[in-house]
C-alpha cells in the first residue's frame, strides 16, 4: 500500500450508506433482547457488542495480520506492523492493570483467571508455524477471514471449511501431542519471575526494540494524490491498534481474553462427534488455558456471539464505507483458501489459538507462549509468502 495523500471531502454520505448499519443495529438489538436474560446474559450481551466493535475496527483499519506483513515484506512499509505493536504495548498496560486487581501478588503457581498463558513446547512451535504458513497461503488469518467475509469475500467460506477440517485433524493428533509434549510443558508467565513492574518493563522494551527494527527497514512510500470521502478513508493501523487493545482489555476484564477460534473449534468438535470420528476423550484439553474447544451444550456461547458480532460489525462498516463487494473466488484462490484453512485450523487448535487468541491475548498477558507464536508464525508466514511468489500462486 503506497502512501496516499487524501483530500478530505466533507460531504455527507448518502442514505444507502447507512442502510447496513441500521439493519445490523436492528439485528443486534433483537438478538441482544433474546440473550440478555439467559443465564450468564451479561457476558453474552457484552460479547456480542464487543464482537461488533472488534469487527468494525478490523474492517476500518484493515487489521489483517497477513496483509500488513506483506506490505512490510514487499514494499518495506512498516506502518501496518507498527499498528500491531501499538496494540501490544497498550494491551500489555491494560492487562497488567487488570492483573493487579485480579491477583495482587503474582506468586507462582497462581495465575490470573483464563488469561491465555499456554504451555510452551515444540507443539506450540509446530502449531504457530503451521498457522503462519496457512495464513500466507490462504491470504489472511482467521480473524481477517471473518472481517473480510463481512466485506463480501466469499473465498473466506471455503477457508472456513478448510479450518474446520484442520481442527478435526488436530483433534485426531491431540492425544499423541498432549501426552508427548504438552502435558509436561511449562506455563511461563513473566510476572512470576519479574513481578508486574518487571514484566511491563521487559515487554515494552521488547516491543519498542521490535518497533525500532521495523523503522530501520521502513522505506518512505511513494505518494499518490487521491480524493476520498471521509467515510471511505481507511483508519491508520495504529488507530486500529489502540482500539483493538482497548477492546482486548475490556474483554479480559469482563468476559474473557479475545479469541476467535474457540467457537469454530467447538463447532468442529461437536459436529465431528456426531460422526464418531474423534477419540472419546481429548486428554487434558479442558484443563488448559487458551481458545479451548468444548463440546457445545448451549446454542449461544460468549465466543460464538463474539464471532457473529465480528461479522455484523464488519458488514455494517463495509457497507457504510463502500468497501462491501461480493467477490466470487476463482479456482486457484479457492484451493489456496482451502489448503491455507486446513493449515490454520490445525495450527490454531494445537497452539490453543490464532493471531488473536495466542499472539495478541498471549503477549498482552505477558506469556512466553505469545512471543513463541509471534516468532514461528512469522517464520511460517514468510515461507508461505515465498512459496506463493516462487510458484506464482497469486
Amino acid at each position: 500500500m503506497a502512501k496516499v495523500n487524501y483530500q478530505i471531502n466533507s460531504s455527507i454520505p448518502a442514505f444507502k450508506n447507512f442502510l447496513g448499519i441500521v439493519v445490523i443495529l436492528i439485528i443486534a438489538f433483537i438478538l441482544n433482547s433474546q440473550i440478555e436474560n439467559l443465564q450468564g446474559g451479561t457476558a453474552l450481551s457484552l460479547s456480542l457488542w464487543l464482537g461488533i466493535s472488534f469487527g468494525a475496527v478490523l474492517q476500518r483499519s484493515r487489521f489483517c495480520f497477513y496483509c500488513l506483513s506483506r506490505d512490510f515484506i514487499e514494499i518495506k512499509n512498516a506502518k501496518g506492523l507498527f499498528g500491531i505493536i501499538v496494540a501490544l504495548i497498550i494491551g500489555t498496560l491494560g492487562y497488567h492493570l487488570i492483573f493487579g486487581a485480579f491477583l495482587i501478588d503474582p506468586i507462582a503457581p497462581r495465575l490470573p483467571p483464563n488469561a491465555h498463558i499456554a504451555p510452551v513446547s515444540w507443539v506450540l512451535v509446530l502449531g504457530s508455524f503451521s498457522f503462519g504458513l496457512g495464513m500466507a497461503i490462504a491470504g489472511s488469518c482467521i480473524s481477517a477471514q471473518l472481517y473480510r467475509l463481512g466485506e463480501g469475500l466469499l473465498s473466506a467460506l471455503i477457508a472456513f471449511i478448510g479450518i474446520i477440517l484442520g481442527f478435526v485433524l488436530a483433534f485426531l493428533s491431540w492425544n499423541f501431542l498432549y501426552l508427548e509434549a504438552i502435558q509436561q510443558a511449562p506455563l511461563i508467565w513473566f510476572p512470576h519471575y519479574l513481578g508486574y513492574k518487571g514484566s511491563i518493563v521487559l515487554q515494552i522494551t521488547l516491543l519498542i526494540f521490535l518497533a525500532l527494527l521495523l523503522l530501520k527497514f521502513h522505506k518512505k512510500q511513494k505518494e499518490i494524490n487521491k480524493t476520498q470521502k471521509w467515510w471511505q478513508i481507511k483508519w491508520p493501523t495504529y488507530v486500529g491498534g489502540i482500539l483493538v487493545a482497548l477492546i482486548a482489555t475490556v474483554a479480559f476484564l469482563r468476559v474473557s481474553p479475545l479469541g476467535v477460534t474457540a467457537e469454530i473449534g467447538s463447532i468442529a468438535r461437536t459436529s465431528a462427534g456426531y460422526f464418531n470420528i474423534l477419540p472419546a476423550r481429548l486428554e487434558g484439553l479442558d484443563t488448559l488455558r487458551g481458545c479451548l474447544t468444548i463440546v457445545k451444550e448451549t446454542f449461544w456461547s460468549n465466543n460464538g456471539l463474539f464471532i457473529f458480532g465480528l461479522l455484523l460489525g464488519s458488514f455494517a462498516l463495509a457497507t457504510f464505507s463502500g468497501d462491501f463487494k461480493i467477490q466470487i473466488p476463482k479456482i486457484k484462490e479457492s484451493v489456496r483458501s482451502f489448503v491455507g484453512g486446513i493449515l490454520m485450523g490445525f495450527g490454531s487448535m494445537i497452539a490453543l489459538g490464532c493471531t488473536v487468541g495466542t499472539l495478541l491475548s498471549g503477549i498482552m498477558a505477558a506469556s512466553l507462549s505469545g512471543w513463541i507464536f509471534l516468532i514461528f508464525c512469522g517464520a511460517g508466514l514468510y515461507l508461505g509468502w515465498f512459496l506463493r511468489k516462487k510458484y506464482k500462486l497469486n
Binding site: 487488570i98 491477583l103 469482563r254 463440546v295 451444550e297
Partner: protein, 305 residues
C-alpha cells in the same frame, strides 16, 4: 447506683470489640452482609466452581479459595492437611475471633463443602451467605473486581474431627445393616435408581450405577427455596421427615463426589441440629468399591447388557 450503671455501660461500649451480631448462628442474609461489610471482625471467603467468577466480580473484601487446589490435597484424594489449611486461613487474614462468612456460585455447593472442611478443622463462627452469589446478584448488590489485600491472621485450627466425616467402612456397615444410621442420597432420581452412572458431561464417575442399600433419595434442591436460600427449619423438617429422617438416629449424607451432599449436610446439621456426617468419598468411591452391596433398580450394566 446510677453512676455505677453508667460507668459499666460506658466501659462496655468502650472496651467491647465490635461484635458481629448475626441473625442466625449459621446463616447470614444478603442484607445483613451488605450492612456489615466494613466490620473489621468479618472475613468473607468465596468458594466458587467456575474460574474467573471471583476475579471478575466478588463481594467487597472477599478472598478467593479454590476448591480444587486450596481445600483438597492435590495428590491423594483427601481434604487439605491441617498445616496447609491453617496457612491458607492465616493468609486470608482469619483470626481466632473472626466471623467467617462463606459464599459461592452454583447455589453455594462448594461454599457449603468449604463450610464442612472448616467444621472438620474446628473453626468457629463459620456462616454461609444464604442464597450465595445467585441471590446477591439477583438483588443487584455491588461486586468488585479488586482483589483484597489482608494482613496475615493468627488463627489456630484443631486436629481434624473425624466425627463429621463418614468413611467407606461406615457406609458399608449401614449397607450391611450393622449400623443404625440413616443414609441420605442427594443425587438426582436417575442416578439414585441407576438409570445413569453420572450426569452427562461429568468426568468423575463410578463403574456401578445405583445407590447404597438403605439410602433414601432427597435431591439437594429440595432443601432450597426458589431464590436459592435454604427453606425454613419447619419446612426442612417436613421434607426430611417425609422420608423418615427425623434426627432420632445419626445421619450420613452422600452424593457423587461429596460436595453437593455438604449442602444437605449443612441443612441437616446446622439448621436442624441433627447428628450428621458427610461421606465425601460418595458414589465415586462406593460405586467403584469391590464386593459391597448396591441397589440398582434400573438394571443398568457397565459396558452394556
Amino acid at each position: 447506683m446510677k453512676l455505677i450503671k453508667k460507668v459499666v455501660l460506658l466501659w462496655a461500649l468502650l472496651f467491647t470489640a465490635p461484635v458481629v451480631a448475626a441473625p442466625s448462628d449459621f446463616l447470614v442474609t444478603t442484607d445483613w452482609l451488605e450492612k456489615n461489610l466494613n466490620n473489621p471482625k468479618l472475613r468473607l471467603i468465596e468458594v466458587s466452581v467456575d474460574t474467573g467468577v471471583y476475579e471478575r466480580g466478588h463481594i467487597q473484601g472477599a478472598v478467593n479459595f479454590k476448591w480444587h487446589t486450596d481445600l483438597v490435597d492435590p495428590v491423594k484424594r483427601d481434604i487439605t492437611s491441617k498445616e496447609n489449611f491453617e496457612k491458607l486461613l492465616r493468609q486470608a487474614g482469619v483470626n481466632n475471633d473472626s466471623t467467617i462468612v462463606i459464599y459461592g456460585d452454583s447455589n453455594n455447593w462448594f461454599a457449603a463443602w468449604g463450610a464442612w472442611v472448616f467444621d472438620v478443622y474446628g473453626v468457629k463462627n463459620v456462616k454461609l451467605l444464604d442464597g450465595g452469589r445467585k441471590k446477591w446478584e439477583a438483588e443487584k448488590r455491588p461486586l468488585t473486581p479488586l482483589a483484597t489485600k489482608v494482613a496475615a491472621g493468627n488463627i489456630k485450627v484443631s486436629d481434624a474431627n473425624n466425627a463429621l466425616r463418614a468413611r467407606l467402612i461406615d457406609v458399608v456397615a449401614v449397607a450391611n445393616k450393622k449400623s443404625d444410621t440413616a443414609l441420605v442420597d442427594i443425587r438426582s432420581p436417575d442416578e439414585f435408581t441407576g438409570k445413569i452412572f453420572a450426569p452427562a458431561g461429568v468426568q468423575e464417575t463410578a463403574i456401578r450405577a445405583g445407590h447404597i442399600p438403605g439410602a433414601v433419595n432427597v435431591p439437594w434442591g429440595q432443601a432450597v427455596a426458589e431464590d436459592g436460600t435454604f427453606k425454613s427449619p419447619e419446612e426442612l423438617k417436613k421434607v426430611y421427615a417425609a422420608v423418615g429422617i427425623d434426627g432420632k438416629k445419626p445421619i450420613i449424607t452422600y452424593c457423587r463426589i461429596g460436595e453437593r451432599s455438604s449442602h444437605t449436610w449443612f441443612a441437616l446439621s446446622k439448621i436442624l441440629g441433627y447428628n450428621v456426617r458427610n461421606y465425601d468419598g460418595s458414589w465415586t468411591e462406593y460405586g467403584n468399591s469391590v464386593g459391597n452391596p448396591v441397589i440398582n433398580t434400573a438394571g443398568t450394566v457397565w459396558g452394556g447388557k
